[in-house]
């Protein structure tokens, strides 16, 4: 499969993040086209394109929009999920720094399609410069009559608010995000009702990932079939792959869905010199890890699922043989413990106990029965938690055990830092230069 610089096509131009730079490359042409069409036809085009959500779950976007009841007399809302906090995920943040107008134009078109007159872009709080760039893009769009009242004489009104979070991974979960946006603690809501029926302020709401929404202008301008030239029937289109870790050229690689990890690795210059791949994770710490044996699988929703993992956020993390998998998993579990919102017992208690047991194994002070205990705890969390954060927390350990059981067993006697010199894992290590 091929590299497809689309969202990233003009990031090397000095004003890629400004209205002028965006307009130089068909910016807001799709909005003008959309405003002249029937909103339902836009939903249909997005359905036909087969676009799937880029936030992790891969839900079909057009179908989600179709769930919003029409002529119900209630206000509708569009909420962009730009909370990007999943360990490993780092693609929405660069996108918003370099091409915020694709997001803003996408917001305008999507709002028009679902008949929303108010949209919110919820950005995690820890990224002030991203908030500057998106806020400026929104301001420029207002000033140019591309947002606000009677947009381009169409009679369509849209207010857009850029909203900063305040540090909580759980706020990326869509219903927790809504609670947070309403000024509450970010804790998930019971579903149903789904947000499409009762979301923000109990009104019909569409929540989409930032990358999903940024795809919309390109699809509307070029057509549904244009998107389908890439990827597979079930996973059409292109994706911002963010490759991180022990590779020569970590970075953002925009490519067709169905590209393999071997191809991506090659684009990224391969593993750092003198080292070999140990494990990689296709889409964030919440999806099971893979190894060398999986390098030739197409990166699609369906192929990753068939391999027992998920495409997730499509941001592969790559680790070489210097890495202690026990330490890696232990660190992720500390994260889930910290980020568990505390609403339900399996996740709140389970993450506490698992992270404690893993810490002990990491220090080489584990007990023979620890692995069994952790496994049991994971099983008690999986499928029994109130939201997907619990399932995510129960994923890294069994995923790693499948490939590296003996390393965990060694944790009963040997500290991870003895088995794997931490200095060798760093990118400052001599072996790397």
């Amino acid at each position: 499969m091929v590299l497809t610089p689309i969202l990233t096509a003009h990031w090397d131009e000095a004003d890629s993040y400004k209205l002028e730079g965006y307009k130089r490359h068909h910016g807001y042409v799709a909005l003008a086209k959309a405003l002249k069409s029937d909103p339902d036809s836009i939903i249909q085009t997005v359905k036909d394109s087969g676009l799937r959500g880029r936030g992790g779950a891969g839900f079909p976007t057009g179908m989600k929009w179709g769930f919003v009841p029409q002529n119900d007399g209630k206000p509708h809302y569009l909420v962009v999920n730009a909370d990007e906090s999943e360990p490993g995920a780092c693609k929405d943040i660069p996108l918003m720094l370099a091409n915020p107008h694709a997001l803003v134009e996408g917001v305008a078109i999507s709002s028009y399609a679902i008949r929303a007159n108010h949209a919110f872009i919820y950005i995690r709080g820890e990224v002030p410069h991203v908030i500057r760039r998106v806020t400026n893009a929104v301001k420029e769009a207002y000033a140019a009559g591309l947002l606000g009242q009677n947009i381009q004489g169409s009679g369509f009104n849209l207010e857009v608010v850029v909203h900063a979070g305040a540090g909580a991974y759980i706020c990326g979960e869509e219903t927790a995000l809504l609670d947070s946006l309403e000024g509450h603690r970010g804790q998930p809501r019971l579903k149903p009702p789904f947000p499409a029926v009762a979301g923000l302020y109990a009104s019909p709401t569409v929540i989409n990932n930032a990358e999903t929404i940024a795809n919309i202008p390109y699809i509307i301008r070029n057509g549904a079939d244009w998107l389908k030239q890439w990827g597979t029937e079930k996973s059409p289109g292109f994706k911002l792959f963010a490759v991180s870790g022990h590779v020569k050229r970590p970075g953002i690689y925009e490519a067709a869905l169905g590209t393999t990890m071997r191809e991506l690795l090659e684009h990224a210059g391969g593993m750092r010199d003198g080292h070999t791949l140990k494990f990689w994770i296709p889409g964030g710490s919440s999806v099971p890890m893979l190894t060398e044996a999986h390098l030739d699988l197409p990166l699609t929703y369906e192929d990753m699922a068939a391999a027992g993992t998920m495409l997730g956020t499509g941001t592969p993390m790559v680790f070489d043989e210097t890495t202690s998998v026990v330490k890696a998993v232990s660190r992720w579990l500390q994260f889930y413990k910290h980020e568990s919102c505390g609403k339900c017992t399996p996740c709140r208690e389970g993450t506490y106990w698992i992270s404690g047991l893993l810490k002990r194994l990491e220090k080489g002070e584990g007990q023979e029965t620890d692995l069994e205990k952790i496994d049991e705890l994971c099983q008690q969390i999986m499928g029994r938690s109130f939201c997907a954060l619990g399932d995510a927390a129960a994923t890294p350990f069994p995923g790693a055990m499948k490939h590296f059981r003996t390393e965990f067993e060694a944790g009963v006697r040997t500290a991870a830092d003895i088995a794997f010199d931490p200095a060798a894992t760093t990118i400052f290590s001599k072996a790397n230069v």
Binding site: A9, P75, E126, H129, R132, R185, H246
Partner: protein, 214 residues
């Protein structure tokens, strides 16, 4: 502390930006933190007053989110990402070095009151690991020496620039931006080689799209 008329008016302005005023609570907490360097009981009272909520309700929200600090902070906030990717690639080493240099632990402030240190979670910049934040601005591809230098410059009041963002001004300035009050620094450079890696590679291997499409 009593807040000035300006802060009260700004808080009310925030409340007016949303269809339902309570949605302004997070921005408002950022606002009071931008004034005081923490979310104090007075700050909570202000939010409660403007939004007509019980102070207990506001406090429950403020304590849920890690960015709100209930104790005094230093002039600068320094975050070291120690989630798996950054921690293993060098964040742990950076943390150990500066925490011991400053004799300051997690969520503590250095004796001179200049720097609050925090071990932070994934910053959505793993391609740039190890990542450090200075007043939440990116300080990417960090090294032990580079961070040491930045911290000593910050303590001496010298200019330090974010790798993808503006000159570092202090936690309170960042908090004001997060509250929703713009600072016109959007032009500060933010695009680097790692963000362009795929685009450059695509050109190298001749896999670009026609200009009529993108």
């Amino acid at each position: 502390m009593t807040f000035t008329e300006t802060t009260w008016n700004e808080a009310k302005e925030l409340a007016g930006r949303y269809p339902h005023s309570r949605s302004a609570l997070l921005p408002m907490l950022h606002l009071v933190q931008s004034v005081e360097g923490l979310v104090s009981s007075d700050g909570i009272a202000l939010c409660a007053d403007v939004l007509d909520l019980a102070t207990a309700e506001v406090a429950a929200v403020a304590t849920f989110y890690t960015m709100y600090k209930r104790h005094n902070t230093g002039k600068h906030h320094v975050g070291v990402c120690t989630n798996t990717m950054c921690g293993l690639l060098g964040g742990d080493a950076i943390w150990n070095a500066i925490s011991s240099d400053l004799n300051t632990g997690h969520d503590e402030t250095s004796e001179d009151g200049k720097i609050t240190l925090e071990r932070i979670e994934c910053q959505a910049a793993c391609t740039h690991a190890p990542v450090v934040t200075l007043d939440w601005e990116f300080f990417d591809d960090a090294t032990v020496d580079g961070v040491r230098k930045a911290l000593s410059d910050l303590r001496e009041g010298k200019e330090v620039k974010s790798t993808r963002g503006p000159v570092i001004k202090g936690l309170q300035a960042s908090e004001r931006l997060l509250a929703g009050f713009d600072d016109d620094e959007f032009d500060a450079p933010a695009i680097d080689e790692k963000m362009l890696a795929g685009l450059h590679r695509a050109r190298e291997v001749g896999q670009t799209l026609p200009s009529s499409e993108v």
